[in-house]
């Protein structure tokens, strides 16, 4: 059994969002970087659990980006995984990234490719589906549970207003979300061990991007809250009906 977990680097949830270069680039000054929470808490931890169940499982991590991503990759390796692969290319559009991951997945012959449901920066929810299509594999997105029974896989995925159980078989691509696993904190042994785990750097395959970012903008500032006195909540209802016109 070989598992590949896609690890993305994102600004910390509390990072200040600002732009430079005429609003064309995200301002990275002072930004704390983290492993994309969906990749870490759900995809990676579930993969680690599967390896704990079956220690013969090979667990690799993949990241697409420059050498500045290595610190994040080591953090992920501190949680678990045998080795990491970084595709050395400046992050571009999701199709370029997915194409690099698909190439790594193809060469490594993985049975299961795991991603988080989306990254918290571009919120595209696109990588898993693109990788699945490029590899011609089934794709279960927004999965909250995954159980292996030989090469048969039972999953639960989100649907509007509920969930659905599905069955498919390996090889498979899955995007994971809350419910799949619980966040873990790396222990000292993991952190020490991560330093010596292999981190292979591979060169990218040539792919033409399909989209590019023409610019960013911040949402208009809120006018400020209109406070209604606590002894007159009826006024709130009136405002919502007559002014905001939402009820």
């Amino acid at each position: 059994m070989k598992i590949l977990v896609c690890i993305s680097k994102t600004p910390d949830t509390t990072a200040k969002i600002a732009f430079t270069d005429n609003n064309k680039k995200f301002a990275t000054d002072g930004v704390q970087w983290i492993i994309n929470p969906y990749d870490e808490w759900y995809a990676l931890v579930r993969a680690i659990e599967l390896k704990e169940k079956d220690p013969a499982t090979v667990l690799h991590l993949v990241n697409v980006g420059g050498a500045e991503n290595d610190a994040i990759i080591r953090k992920a390796l501190a949680l678990g995984g045998d080795e990491a692969i970084r595709v050395n290319i400046e992050s571009q559009d999701s199709f370029t990234i997915a194409s690099q991951i698909a190439q790594v997945a193809k060469e490594g012959g993985y049975d299961l490719v795991f991603t988080g449901k989306e990254t918290i920066d571009y919120n595209g929810s696109s990588i898993g589906g693109m990788v699945a299509e490029l590899l011609d594999l089934p794709y279960v997105s927004l999965a909250t549970k995954l159980e292996l029974e030989g090469s048969n896989v039972k999953l639960t995925r989100e649907i509007e207003g509920g969930e659905e159980t599905v069955e498919t078989s390996l090889p498979l691509v899955v995007s994971a979300q809350k419910g799949m696993a619980e966040q873990r904190i790396p222990n000292m042994k993991g952190i020490m061990g991560a330093r010596t785990k292999p981190l292979k750097v591979v060169e990218p395959v040539a792919v033409e991007a399909l989209t590019s970012i023409a610019g960013f903008e911040l949402p208009p500032a809120k006018a400020g809250v209109k406070l209604v006195p606590a002894d007159n909540p009826e006024e709130l209802v009136r405002l919502l009906h007559e002014e905001a016109k939402v009820i």
């Binding site: 089934p138 509920g162 809350k178 399909l210």
Partner: protein, 320 residues
Amino acid sequence: MSVLVYIDHTDGEIKKSSLEAASYGAKLASQLGVAAHGLVLGTVSTDLSALGKQGIQKVHQVKNDSLNQFDPGQQATMIAEAVGSLGATVVVLSNNVTGKALAPRLSARLKAGLVAGAVALPDTSNGFVVKKAVFSGKAFAQVEVTSPVKIISLTPNAFSVSNGDGSAEVAEINLTVPAAKIKVTGINKIKGQIPLSEAELVVSGGRGLKGPENWGMIEELADLLGAATACSRPVADSHWRPHHEHVGQTGGAVAPNLYFAVGISGAIQHLAGVNRSKVIVVINKDPEAPFFKAADYGIVGDAFEVMPKIIDSVKKLKGK
């Protein structure tokens, strides 16, 4: 040349998010001066000609019950074939659970650039540029699509449903149906509730409500307004409310017309899930709660005193 809208359905009904996508697709088609077509894979119990109200001119359907079970690989292959045979240059889907599985597959298959989670019509004055929310709603990006075929998945509740009086032509389309690789073995829907992702109004409760036994007032207000119910992360983590109600960074993201938050302090992780709501109301007894900074209306007060009065007032408003 045409804009092709993928029409998603469940339990025989077209999803509201797909009616939004149809309205968006039709507006885009007229902006580009091309035809607006719809594609329905599977069977529905409603009259598809009614998509004319949203501006769709022709609906193509593959009437095959097996397609009601969703396999994104199978459906992406079929949509790609339809794009080729109909000469579509733009495909529009909703960025709902189905669209999130389907749009990226279709993008990779057609080598067509995808804007996932569009919030406005494209600017086609110079190229093809589409606005989408990024950084969990804290900013927007203008994404330029450079490929010949373009795919847009539209954020639910970001575009209103048009209701004209047109009628669409409905025809069956002959597409190869590849074998499904994913078998649906069970569906567990929460009955009688409005799905959070589709809700126009959301009433949400936090730790300030002290315990699950106090959710009656949240449910009563939601019921009166026709709103969905939601909750903050600590509430879901303490199992006071089911996980699917959790909105925030790690839960679901919503963008309703009204987000009515009771007893939620508004941590940045919670705001990431709700900051695209059009109007935010915050009821909290702590005047320093960070949520007030993101709110449009607020009451600094005890929810247990304020909420019954609000419920009475809404009852009067609704004539109940």
